[in-house]
Symmetry: C2
Subunit: 456 residues, 2 copies
C-alpha cells in the first residue's frame, strides 16, 4: 500500500517538473527496479518517460531499463544520446540485450549494435543466432570462472574481484586454457574450504550441462529435477558458451504452462500477455481451430441426419443426445488433461502407455457404472415413451451407448497424447476439443445403431 | 545413456551382494543424489532398499533420503537403528523433514521426533503447525544471519564458518538481538566490498518479505516478479522465522499449473503424480463433476424435448444442433482459458473486467462473421429443405442463433472467471465444462425460438 503512495508522489513531482526531488525520493525509498519499470511503463507517457528515465540514479538505470516493455525500451533508445546508450548496452546482461533486440525494428538494432563495444557486439551477434526455443536463446555470457590449479585463497580473491558484473555468483565454472568445462564448484564450497586447498580437489567433475541447441523446455525440466540455480551451456566441443540462470528457467516454466493451456483450448499460442494482444491477433489465433471444429460439428450433425427416420418416429430419442455428447466430451477431457500434463512435467513417459491405458480403462468402468445406473433408473421411472415403445429397451440403448462412449473417450484421452509425443508432435493438440469432436460423432453412431437394432 | 549403464552395473553388484564395489562405484561415478534416489525408488524392492541405503557413503545418505518417495522413507525409518535415524533427522533441512512427516503414520512421526535433537524437534513441531497452503509450510529454518555492526571481514569470517548447513548461502539476513529483520544483503555484495566497510552501510533496508500465513501461490508470484533466490518469512512482530528458497517456489508454480489444468477439466485436484494415484482416487476426483454435468446435459436434452413438434415436422433442423453446441463450447473455452490463465499469472486483475469483456466482444464479432458467412453459403447451396420450407429462413435461424451463441459464450468466458475471483472463489472452476453446459442450453433455446418465429 505504501508503495502506491510513493508512486503518486513521484507522478506529482514529475508533473511539477521537480526532478531533483523525484530523484532523491527514488534513492531514499529504495523501490525495487522492477516496480519502477512498471511505474514508467504504465503511468507515464511520451516525453515524461524519457525525462523520468534520464533522471534515475545512474546505478539503477540499466536494471530499470531491462524490466521495461519493448515499446518503452525502443522509445528510450531513439531519444537518448550515443554515450548514454553505450553505457546501457554494455551494462545489460547479454540475454536481456538479445531479448530486447529480438523484437526491435532494424533501425533500433543497428543503433544499438553501433554503440556496443566490440566484445558486446560479437556476443550479441552470436546469441541472436540461436533458435527461439533453444537453450542458447536464454543463455547469458556473464559467469564466474576459475582454473583448477588455483588455491581456495586465490579463487576467492579472483571471485571478489570479478563477481561484480556476473549474473550469478553462486556457481563457479572451472575452465582449461581452451575454455573447455572441466568442473563446477559452488561458491559455498569455496567459502567452506580452507585457504590452502586446491580447486581441483574440491570441484565436481560430474557436470550437468546442455548444448546451445537443446530445447529450452528440457532445460527447465533439468532445473526442476536437480534443484539447480544455474546450468552451464556448452558447444559441441564442450567449451563453455554461457549459463542459464534459474530466473529465466522459471519464466520458461510459466510460459510453457500458458502455451499448453492455449493449445488445449484450441488456440494457437500467443507471445504477448492477454491485455497487450490486439483483437485481430486474438481472432487469428482462434479462428482456425474454431473453423476446423465447426466442420467436425457439421459432420456430427449430418450423421444425426442419417437417422432422421428414427428421430421423426420417436423424437424422445434425440433428447438423450446432448447428455451422451457432454459426458463423452468431459470424460475424454479429464483423461487427456491428466496425460498431457503428466507428459509435460515428466511424470509420464511414452513407455508408460499400457499402464496409463489400463488405469483409464478401470476408471472408465467405475465412472460408467455409476452414471448408467442413475440413467437407467431415471429413464424407466420418469420417461414417457410413445405407445408400443418398450421403455426398458430405450434405457438399454442409452446406457449401452453411454458405457461404450465413456470407455472410448477415456481410452482416446489416454492414448492420443502419447501417440502424438511418440511422433514428436505436441501432445497438447490432442486435447479436449479434438477428442470431443471424435467422441461426439462415434457416440451418435453407436447410439443410433443400438436404437436401430433394438427398437425398429 | 551412460547413466543407465551405471545403474545396470549397480543393480548387478547388489544382486551379487558385492556391497563394497557398489559403494566405490557410487563414489567414483559421482551420480547426482536425486538420480540415486530415483534408482532406489524404482529399481529396488524390500530388503535391497535398506541394504543399498545403508551402503551409501555417509556424506550422501541424507541428501538421497530427502529425494526418496514417502513410502521408501518410511520403510527405511522402520528398519534402521536409532543412531542412524538421529543423524539423518538432524541433517535434513527442516522443510524436507516436515514434508516427510506431513504424510507419515503416527508411529513413524513418533519415532522420528524421539530421535531428533531438542532443537530440531521444536522446529519440526513449530513448522508442522503451518497450514498446507501457507508460506510457513514451505519455509526452512536454515538461513545465514549476521549483525549490522559487523565489518565485511567479520561477516565473511562468520559466513565461512556457518554456511555449511544453510540451504542457501547467497543471501544474508541482518537481525537485531530480538531476531527482528533489519536488512538483507547478498553474499555477492559482501564479496565485492572492502574488508573494513560496515554491513550497516551496505545492506538493503527495503526488504521484500512475507508472513507465515501468506498464501504460497502469492509467494511464488513474488519470486517470478522480483527474480528472487530466497524470500524471508517473518512473524507478526517482523521477527525472522525462516526463508523460502527458489527450488520450493518452482515446485509451487508447477503444482499450481497442474491444479488449474485439473480444475479446468472438471476434476478435483490430486496431490500425487498420475502414475502413483489409485484408480479409486482418480474415480473419486472425477465422478462428482461428471455427474453434475450429466444432469446439465439432461436439462439441455429436455429443452430439446420441448421442441419435439418442430423436430418431427422438419428433422433437418436437429442436424444443426451439434455444430451450434460445439462452436459455442469452443468459443467459451478459448475465452475462459485466456482469462483464467491471465488471472493466475497476474497479467489480468479483476479491475480489468470491462477491458477484457470489450476485447472478447470484438473478437466474437469477427469470429462470428466469418463462421456465419460460411454457414449461410453452405446452407443455401447444399441443404435440401422439405417442400414449403424456405431455405433462406432456415439459414437465417442457424446463423442468427450462431452469432448470438458466440457472443454469449465469449462474454461468459470473459466475465465468469473474473466474478469468481472477485467472490474469492477459484476462477479455474468457471472453465470450459461449466460454460459449455450453460451455452448449450441457451443456444438451443435461442435457435428454436428463432425457428418458431420464422418457420412456423
Amino acid at each position: 500500500m505504501e508503495e502506491i503512495e510513493i508512486f503518486q508522489q513521484l507522478e506529482q513531482l514529475l508533473n511539477e517538473k521537480n526532478y531533483r526531488t523525484f530523484r532523491e525520493k527514488i534513492i531514499e525509498s529504495e523501490i525495487p527496479e522492477v516496480d519502477l519499470a512498471q511505474f514508467i511503463d504504465e503511468k507515464l507517457e511520451g516525453e515524461q518517460v524519457i525525462i523520468a528515465f534520464r533522471t534515475l540514479p545512474k546505478t539503477m538505470a540499466t536494471d530499470v531499463f531491462s524490466f521495461l516493455s519493448n515499446e518503452t525500451q525502443q522509445a528510450i533508445i531513439n531519444a537518448i544520446t550515443d554515450k548514454e546508450l553505450q553505457k546501457i548496452v554494455d551494462d545489460l546482461f547479454i540475454d536481456d540485450a538479445v531479448d530486447m533486440l529480438d523484437e526491435a525494428p532494424a533501425t533500433v538494432v543497428r543503433r544499438v549494435l553501433e554503440n556496443a563495444s566490440v566484445e558486446t557486439r560479437n556476443l550479441i551477434n552470436q546469441f541472436l543466432k540461436y533458435k527461439e526455443d533453444s537453450a542458447g536463446s536464454i543463455t547469458t555470457a556473464e559467469y564466474l570462472y576459475i582454473k583448477k590449479d588455483m588455491t581456495v585463497e586465490e579463487a576467492l580473491r579472483r571471485i571478489r574481484k570479478t563477481c561484480k558484473d556476473k549474473e550469478t555468483t553462486y556457481t563457479c565454472y572451472v575452465l582449461d586454457k581452451n575454455r573447455v568445462l572441466e568442473g563446477v564448484i559452488a561458491v559455498k564450497t569455496i567459502l567452506m574450504a580452507k585457504d590452502d586447498e586446491y580447486i581441483e580437489d574440491l570441484m565436481d567433475r560430474n557436470i550437468i550441462s546442455v548444448t546451445t541447441d537443446e530445447d529450452k523446455e528440457q532445460v527447465a525440466k533439468l532445473f526442476s529435477k536437480y534443484d539447480l540455480f544455474a546450468l552451464p551451456v556448452v558447444d559441441k566441443e564442450n567449451r563453455l558458451v554461457g549459463i542459464v540462470t534459474i530466473d529465466d528457467a522459471v519464466d520458461v516454466i510459466q510460459a510453457e504452462a500458458t502455451e499448453d493451456f492455449e493449445k488445449m483450448s484450441a488456440m494457437l499460442p500467443s507471445d504477448k500477455p492477454y491485455l497487450d494482444s490486439k483483437v485481430t491477433t486474438l481472432f487469428k489465433n482462434r479462428i482456425l481451430w474454431l473453423f476446423v471444429l465447426m466442420i467436425s460439428g457439421m459432420i456430427t450433425g449430418s450423421l444425426l441426419g442419417q437417422y432422421e427416420a428414427s428421430i421423426s418416429t420417436i423424437p424422445l430419442l434425440v433428447t438423450f443426445v446432448p447428455m451422451l455428447n457432454d459426458t463423452g466430451g468431459n470424460c475424454g477431457n479429464q483423461s487427456s488433461t491428466m496425460v498431457i500434463r503428466g507428459l509435460t512435467t515428466g511424470d509420464i513417459t511414452t513407455k508408460d502407455w499400457l499402464k496409463v491405458w489400463w488405469k483409464e480403462f478401470r476408471v472408465s468402468l467405475l465412472v460408467g457404472l455409476v452414471l448408467i445406473a442413475f440413467n437407467f433408473l431415471r429413464i424407466i421411472l420418469f420417461s414417457h415413451t410413445p405407445e408400443g415403445v418398450n421403455v426398458y429397451l430405450v434405457a438399454a440403448c442409452v446406457c449401452g451407448a453411454m458405457m461404450l462412449t465413456i470407455i472410448l473417450a477415456k481410452s482416446l484421452g489416454a492414448i492420443l497424447p502419447i501417440i502424438a509425443k511418440k511422433l514428436h508432435l505436441d501432445p497438447a493438440v490432442m486435447a479436449a476439443p479434438l477428442i470431443t469432436t471424435i467422441v461426439d460423432a462415434v457416440s451418435i453412431v453407436i447410439y443410433f445403431s443400438l436404437v436401430t437394432l433394438l427398437l425398429f
